[in-house]
Symmetry: C2
Subunit: 492 residues, 2 copies
């Protein structure tokens, strides 16, 4: 192999004369998946060492809203008065996160969800406030603990699957004072405190570069770099990869998820895909590399009160669904072009409601007395927006939306004056594809067999999302399968 391969391909343990560090379980990355793996392994009695590339724990998780997607009847769901079942959760995740979801993973995740809640809340001390936020929004404006975050209570799912809110957000402290005390921080702080309490060691500024394998092909350690110096770390039982997505690896994004080129969001520059590459060099398989979370940069309090139309003036989604579904439909199915059509009364009403995303409250770009005028100002084909609004209003007068099934409470004829907000190109996101892993977080070789000694979780893996997304699914499967990775590695 040429030089580059030498740098990312596996290194033979026989070439390592001295191990700088050693542990039962070595975890690469101290975001949510790494922290969960560390705690999971330590709880099984393993000696654990976490190698983190940056100067501190947290990863992208600590900067996130903090949703963890949980259900099947968690104490928080019950306290807020919601019924949920494992079956309803499975049905929803299968329908909303596909096509092509890993059914075994969905099953394990849903069946283990209540237990995972207890582990987070009781074992690790993640605080969940027993209150529900029911208004439209990306996240609660205050410290409420529960919210719909996947469109469970909207078309097309609510017609056939009993809805329940499953977005569990750790209780924020001083949210408006410090972004560092948001929901994601309040997930990561208890998890990493728990890790420390269990004796987990951590080393910072450690860039994991290569896996180390023995003569039988078992992963027995890693080679890292610290300020340019090579550091060898032996893993007596297993290595857990938890270094995040490839959203900031331009080559990989272009090769696998090209619609996301130039628009990474909710991810950090350290998300360079290296762990995926290191494992691929061992013959690891991949899955759903094109899948992406897609945020839509507009406040749901506004767009739920109007209609979203594409570049041809056509509606394309029920505006009362999860805003991430709006983002995906806009970017993937509608050339990343959207306009919010909203009348003055609805706009003012939306602006008067609470929101956690003030910065997404855009001003109208065009205002007119009639739809015809507005259509001309935007530059939409003559008659196109008029036909759309006429049809919408005709049914809205009866409180229905037969095209997309928006709920009656949000269906209201659009009046005058009328405005349009320009939402073209207002999307961004992170990658959801990665290493193919088993339900025990073993990294799977293309043969289908686990690669011995190698585990992974979080966004360097393909988790519960095959194509769709719900807020909390990423921290959810990162923590769920992270914990499993740690336990499985400890058991080696």
């Amino acid at each position: 192999m040429a030089s580059n391969s030498d740098e990312i391909g596996p290194r033979s343990a026989t070439t390592i004369e001295h191990w700088d560090h050693e542990a039962d379980v070595v975890v690469a990355g101290f975001g949510v998946a790494g922290a969960a793996a560390a705690v999971g392994a330590a709880q099984e009695g393993a000696n654990v060492l976490v190698l983190e590339r940056t100067g501190g724990w947290g990863g992208a998780a600590a900067m996130a809203g903090g949703f963890v997607y949980l259900g099947g009847g968690t104490p928080l769901q019950k306290a807020c008065g919601f019924d949920d079942t494992v079956d309803a959760m499975k049905a929803f995740m299968t329908a909303a996160l596909g096509p092509g979801v890993d059914e075994e993973k969905i099953d394990a995740y849903c069946e283990g969800s209540v237990d995972h809640y207890h582990w987070l809340a009781d074992d690790c001390g993640v605080p969940f406030k027993e209150s529900f936020w029911g208004e439209p929004g990306w996240e609660p404006p205050g410290d409420d603990g529960l919210q719909y975050t996947g469109g469970e209570n909207a078309a097309p799912f609510n017609a056939t699957i009993p809805p329940a809110p499953r977005g569990h957000v750790p209780q924020m402290q001083d949210k408006h004072v410090s972004a560092e005390k948001g929901g994601g921080y309040m997930l990561m702080k208890p998890l990493t405190d728990k890790a420390a309490e269990l004796g987990v060691r951590s080393l910072y500024d450690m860039r994991v570069q290569r896996l180390v394998t023995d003569e039988a092909g078992v992963v027995v350690g890693v080679v890292a770099k610290r300020y340019g110096t090579e550091v060898t770390v032996r893993a007596r039982r297993g290595v857990v990869l938890a270094t995040g997505s490839f959203a900031y690896n331009d080559t990989m994004v272009r090769s696998f998820a090209p619609r996301l080129v130039g628009r990474p969001a909710a991810s950090i520059e350290e998300h360079d895909g290296r762990a995926i590459r290191m494992a691929q060099a061992l013959g690891a398989d991949l899955a759903h590399m094109d899948a992406t979370e897609v945020a839509f940069f507009c406040d749901p309090q506004l767009f739920i009160r109007g209609i979203l139309v594409n570049g041809r003036g056509q509606r394309y989604i029920n505006e009362d669904t999860y805003p991430g579904r709006v983002g995906q439909a806009t970017l993937i199915e509608n050339h990343n072009e959207a306009f919010l059509i909203i009348d003055e009364v609805a706009y003012e009403e939306g602006m008067s409601r609470p929101t956690a995303t003030q910065q997404l409250r855009h001003q109208p770009r065009w205002v007119a007395e009639t739809v015809e005028e507005l259509e001309a100002e935007i530059g939409l084909p003559a008659g196109s927006l008029q036909a759309t609004v006429e049809l919408y209003n005709r049914h809205a007068a009866e409180g229905t939306d037969p095209l997309f099934g928006k709920k009656p409470e949000w269906v209201r004829p659009i009046g005058s004056p009328i405005a349009a907000i320009d939402l073209r190109g207002m999307t961004g996101g992170f990658t959801l594809g990665g290493l193919r892993t088993s339900v025990n977080s073993e990294v799977l070789h293309v043969s289908g067999d686990p690669i011995p000694g190698l585990f992974a979780a979080g966004r360097c893996t393909s988790g519960v999302c095959a194509g769709g997304y719900a807020s909390g699914a990423s921290l959810g499967d990162g923590s769920f399968f992270g914990r499993r990775a740690g336990r499985a590695a400890a058991a080696c």
Copy 2:
């Protein structure tokens, strides 16, 4: 590694005591890419052996329509009176086959296209008849040699990129007598004849199972199975993988291109992705695994004369574009739901025109006097189809289609009686993603470096198509980069 890995992972040359066969260049697969590789290698003076899994040459190519996507001013284009340039070809392929095309590959392909035409026609004797088929259709009904096969002369491309037809189809013989003498057969017969003339040897019923590597990691042969017996084949210079797509590997399709689950088309059962897996086991990289060709099972002579609407009664594409673009838009952007709305006069006119795809001339499922009645019969939301037809007719009366830019010659108000053809679920296709290769068809390791001794071409690789497709692009890049694979392997 466990047993499965042993069966697909590389085998060490040191464990092989006896080579059953030996050649300079060993080619796996005798479809278009394999045949082109064999000829390319033999023309460089290499001793070549082709291992084919079935009982004869041909692969999926021999059963295909036979288009080869060529341009930049080929003799056939000139003879038919069309101007084309390398720049126009590059611009079109970049726009239509993306997002995320491999720019180096597009450049090489376009710059080498006229030379490739000469190689096919002059060196190998592939017959191209100097005549152009200009009517709507998947392929010419007769033996014409040139056709638009990518939507070059339709919106949105024709507004900015000078259009030229680039679908070059080998002259068919007795097309209506024997499917085996179609365009694909007339591509493969000369190529394989040429291979035989150059002394290329071929062995059939040989299933390539594993790659063989030496101690430095160089690929030096393959292990195959013939009627269950292991056969070892040494490659003195290089191995070329050319065994086709993964459209018939359910696990891979579900993991990478789940919308295609249950609907493989224009591919053969041997397309099981094994070559991709064998190379991945060496650390080979992948690209664009979600990309798929999508056929739309309706005769373009019909649907160009009406309007296509989705499950909400909305138009979604200009009906005069390449039918494969219609297929992609239907499957990926419109939930695989389509209805053709067409009046009696247009339907009868379409049915009276020549077609190569008589079997795709579906009968209307619903017929009515008014759009309102038709809409109700189909079960579309009240007013939805009426709004769509009214808007279309309003502009059609002036010969325009401002929503999608359908050309004036195909824009005509829809009258009465009016019918709808049910085209829900009428798509199928094959996978376009695969191994990442260089412009010289070297299989690239995840490090970015070539894997020494290993080459690949055709649908086990990611070629010129990142997401979009044009008929002829697959046989086109299969033959173009197949030839390059053979030449590069011969030069090792």
